[in-house]
Structures are given as structure tokens and as C-alpha cells.
Symmetry: C2
Subunit: 343 residues, 2 copies
């Protein structure tokens, strides 16, 4: 296969961090991104070059391009953490062995919103032929996060768990895991219209955070279903209030920040007397701290769930590379699905 000298890519206009914390929403991508023709990157030792078939847009991508993520931006480098495609070049024995394979990947060196992406061979997962591109391109960030966080729920041993902003793709994956393992989710959403779909996926309860009796309803549900884990991507006062309404030993595990509120800790004594905790989950740290063997097991379970239809990636919009800068903000406003980028 001939690899061209240059490629189309959606590149970042800024370096480093912005210092803001405005959440994973986007009014307009143009201040942050630009379509450019740039050189195709070359693999160094241990790296592979991937011809991108499809890339997904995760909330972490939006945090990142706005300079609000846990790693710094690089001006002029392509954006995009996740995608799938075919390995077309590699350097080093393992990297070369992947050439010709269809893989899901996290882009560690040159982003996925481009015709070609560059990443560590260890950041690629060979994909079963029976998986759609839509599922392969969104197979790592959300599914592994769902699996790893659900492991926390399983280890906790309680009979249910709380999941906020549960209408997200990640929420749907977690609800499905809860249903299949008999530890159903207590889901919260902002709009009543989202509730029915989540009940159909197996959520034990769906509470609407904007309802006037939300706090009373949550207190009743927490008393009846006894959750101790709060998996939270919102980080607003509702999240804090739920945490303080939960039983002894409750853990507020934050993995995202949709709200720009700075929630108040109104019941500090509960850390002391009720052994409660606030902590964070970051997939990058999980990847680094989890042994390869366990990660492979989790990946196999992920692919099995997609192949058998237990999980499915819903797509809300598809954007060719040359429409990303103009179209991304609008595409992200469509509910109930992922935005996919295709070269």
C-alpha cells in the first residue's frame, strides 16, 4: 500500500492548558480547530501508522481541544483520541506484526481526526471482523470506562449504584452491565423524555434532576435500594446532595464535569462518621495501573458484548473531515448518540 506524503487533518490552534473549566460543550469549534494539509507522520520504534476508517467524538475530546483536559494540547497537531482503522506501517517486531490488521486505537502521538493517525502499538486492539466500524471506533474510551467503573460497583457489593447524566453512551453501557449482572442502575437524567429508553435498557429507577421533587424522590430510592457508589459526570450541587443522601460508606466517583457549578460540601461530618469518600476515575490511570492480562480480558468481554448486540453504539451524526470545524458544534447538540468522523 502506498502511503501519501501529506494528509488532511483537523488540527489544534492552541498549545497547553486554557485555565478555564467550562465543561464538554462547544459553541463553535473554529476558535480551537482548523482543517489543514499536513505531513503524514512516521512511526518511531514501537509505534504504528493507522489509516483511519472512523473516529469518534468523546466528551474528553471536547475538554481537550478547549485546554481543560488532563494533558496539554499541541498546536498544529491533529485532535481526536479514539478511532478505528487499518495499520499500514509499524516499527519494531510487535508493531510490524500488526500491519494489515483492523484495530481500535487510542491515538497517543498524532490524533484520530485525520486521514492517518500515529500511536503506540500497545494502544491498539485488534478488532473482530464481525464488529461494525461504529462499534470499533468507540470501543475503548467509553466501553473500558464502563467496564472499569462497573468493577468498582461489583467490588462494593451493594445492590444498586447511581449513574448521573445516564443518557450518555457511557450511561447506556453502564446500565446494560448493571442489568446483566443483577446490580441495576439508579439513573439520573435532565429530561423526562430520556427516561423511557433507559428503563428499557434495564435501569431500576430513572430520576429527572429538574423535577421539583427530585431530592425527595432520590432520598426514597436511596433508602430502598441502598446504593453506595455514585458514578458522576456532572459535578454539580445535585451530585453533592445525592452523595450526602446516600448511606454510610458512600463513594462519589467523579469521571467528568458537565456542570460549571462548584458544589458545596454541606455535610463534612459524613466523611468522618459515615466513612464517605470523594475520588476520581480516569481511564488513562486505569490503563497504566491495570495489568495487561486483565486489560485483555476486559477488551474481549467488550468485543463480545458488541458482537452479540448487548451493547450498541448509537450514532447521532456523521461528519467528513472537511466538515468538522463548521459542523461539530451543531452535531454535538443532537441528543442520544455519538458523533462520528470519517475521512
Amino acid at each position: 500500500m502506498t502511503i501519501p506524503q501529506t494528509m488532511k487533518a483537523v488540527v489544534q490552534l492552541h498549545d497547553g492548558y486554557s485555565g478555564t473549566a467550562t465543561g464538554p460543550t462547544l459553541d463553535d469549534a473554529a476558535p480551537f480547530l482548523e482543517l489543514r494539509e499536513i505531513p503524514v507522520p512516521q512511526p518511531a520504534e514501537g509505534q504504528v501508522l493507522i489509516k483511519v476508517a472512523m473516529a469518534s467524538v468523546n466528551p474528553s475530546d471536547i475538554h481537550f481541544i478547549k485546554g481543560e483536559y488532563g494533558q496539554p494540547r499541541v498546536k498544529g497537531a491533529p485532535a481526536g483520541f479514539e478511532g478505528c482503522g487499518t495499520v499500514v506501517a509499524g516499527k519494531g517486531a510487535y508493531a510490524e506484526s500488526l500491519v494489515g490488521q483492523r484495530v481500535a486505537f487510542v491515538a497517543t502521538h498524532s490524533g484520530a481526526w485525520a486521514e492517518y493517525a500515529l500511536t503506540d502499538a500497545s494502544a491498539c486492539i485488534p478488532v473482530r471482523p464481525d464488529l461494525r466500524d461504529e462499534d470499533a471506533a468507540a470501543q475503548i474510551v467509553n466501553p473500558l470506562t464502563a467496564m472499569a467503573m462497573f468493577d468498582i460497583v461489583r467490588e462494593d457489593g451493594a445492590e444498586s449504584f447511581v449513574f448521573t447524566a445516564a443518557g450518555s453512551q457511557l450511561g447506556k453501557l453502564a446500565i446494560g452491565l448493571g442489568r446483566d449482572h443483577g446490580i441495576p442502575a439508579i439513573a439520573t437524567v435532565r429530561r423526562e423524555a430520556q427516561a423511557e429508553a433507559l428503563r428499557a435498557l434495564g435501569a431500576a429507577e430513572v430520576l429527572v434532576t429538574t423535577a421539583p421533587d427530585f431530592h425527595e424522590r432520590f432520598a426514597a430510592v436511596a433508602a430502598a435500594r441502598k446504593p453506595r457508589i455514585l458514578l458522576d459526570a456532572v459535578g454539580d450541587q445535585n451530585s453533592a446532595d445525592m452523595f450526602f443522601a446516600m448511606r454510610s460508606g458512600a463513594r462519589w466517583i467523579t469521571y467528568g464535569k458537565l456542570s460549571s457549578e462548584a458544589p458545596r460540601l454541606t455535610q463534612m461530618g459524613q466523611f468522618i462518621f459515615m466513612n464517605k469518600r470523594i475520588e476520581g476515575f480516569w481511564l488513562t490511570r486505569w490503563m497504566q495501573s491495570t495489568p495487561m492480562e486483565q486489560r485483555i480480558k476486559v477488551v474481549q468481554e467488550v468485543q463480545e458484548r458488541f458482537a452479540t448486540g448487548k451493547w450498541r453504539t448509537d450514532v447521532s451524526a456523521r461528519l467528513p473531515l472537511d466538515q468538522v470545524v463548521e459542523g461539530l458544534a451543531e452535531a454535538l447538540r443532537r441528543p442520544d448518540g455519538k458523533v462520528m468522523i470519517t475521512p
Copy 2:
């Protein structure tokens, strides 16, 4: 020894919890406590009766009588968690073996602010004869808390730790431990007048929270000394701000709540990307979860420190039982020492 039928005791006027969270300060004890002549309690199986020599007043006592502690008040029962005295009766083999011994104790069944206290034999620690009553009466709550929390610091492996409201007896104990183990404290206090004494005890830095440049100074000290553990009895916005100014892996360990502020979590992303945590420490839980063998080792180290003068309980006021209700609030306002109650 003849045990009388009745005794003087400072008893609680209320049951259960108040629902307030106003902190361990006291304007007036009269709404909460009353001096009464009540029957001397009788030991049940595994319990001992102690003739109280001296009882100490801890912040947890004040939280408790105000109905703001982790266990409910009992109307008509004597107040007071901690003291020392001589065991005069016991039921069961181990309890009987303690009769005649001088012990430090935590009162689990009938409080220490009385002529006699009733507690589990397992809540008593025989006291070396070379220890003063002042040190024996304050030997459990603060010293074991200091030792147990300092173990968290040691396990963390960082080169310093942060201790708020460090002018407290507990703060002084922790500073001494830090000095002796080469992990010096970064102490915070509210008044400059407290700083010199804490430097003399071995604090690496003493910062005054009311100073206009407190935040800048803390940031500089945190960058230079790299603490990851914040041991905090204040729970205000300063505590939160310090936590967010600390490095990756920082843990805010709350063990008290001197402030009535509800601090804001202004940097939720740090839980995710910097692996920070908020958790609580409660001596009661530590006692329940720590093997007897380890507790004995810690107690021996505590007595050794008092006996050799490495630690010393400073006394700010002494109150006979019949002056507690009128005198407690005023006595607690005296700085830099513990209030002791003597029958």
C-alpha cells in the same frame, strides 16, 4: 472499697441528634448539661466501674453534647468521653482482673464527667505509674488520633504534611511526631501569636490563615515541600483551597469541623486527572478496624512519649464537677491547653 449508691454527675438534657452543625464551640453549657445526683451504674458482663480521677474535655465532647457527633445523645446520662481513674468493680474474668488498677479509658456506657464512669473493660488502658493524671486523662482520644493519622502520613511517603488548626493539643502532638520521624509539619493557625510555639515544637512552616498573602504563601510552601496529606479539623474554604493547591495524589483527610462554612469544590477535575481524594478519619472506626496487637503497640508508644516528656498535655483550666455547667464555656475560651474536670 465501699461504692456509694449515688454520685454527682454532669448529665445531658437532650436525646439524639440536634440536626445542627455549628462546630465544637460553646456559648453556654446550661442548655445542654445539668449537675445531678444519680445512681452509680452497675457493671454488666465485660464492663468495669471506674472511680474517676480526672476527665478531659475534647472537641468531640462538645460536638456530642450539642447533638452534632456521630452517635446519639442519651438524656439523663453523664457526658464525657475520656478520663483516667481506678477500676473499683468489674464483671467477667478480664474485667475483674482490672480491679484496683489505674487506667485511662474511653467511656462507652456512662460518661466520664461524673464521680464514677462505666465502660467496657476493653476500652481501658492500664497506665504506667510514672504518668501524671493530666497525661493519663488525655491519653486516648488525641494521642491515638495523632498516632493513627501520622501513620497515614508515613505510608504516604512524602517529605512533609499539612496540619490545620495546629495550635490544638492534637496539632502539637502531630508536630512532635513529624519532628521525631523527619517528616515535618506545615502547620496553619489563625493567629500569628500561636506560630512561635509551633516552630519551637518542630513545625517546618507555620502559616497564618488570616494573613492577606496566605494563599500565595501556601502555594510556595506546597511547591517547595511537596506535601500530599492534609490533616484537617477546620473544613472551610481555606482547607479546600489548600487541597486544590497541593500536588497530584493529594488526600484531604477531615477529622473535625471547626468552621461552619460549606466549602466549594472549585477544581473537580483534580479528582480525575490528579488522583486526589477527600476522606475522613474517626478514631472509633480506627479502633474497630485495627488489630488489638497493633493498638497495644501504639498505646505503648504513646505512654513512652508522655513518660519521656516528648509529649506533654498542657492544661488551660481545671473545673470541679459542680462548676462544669457554669464554667465550661468560659474555660474553653482560654487558649493553648486542655480543660480538665475533677470530681
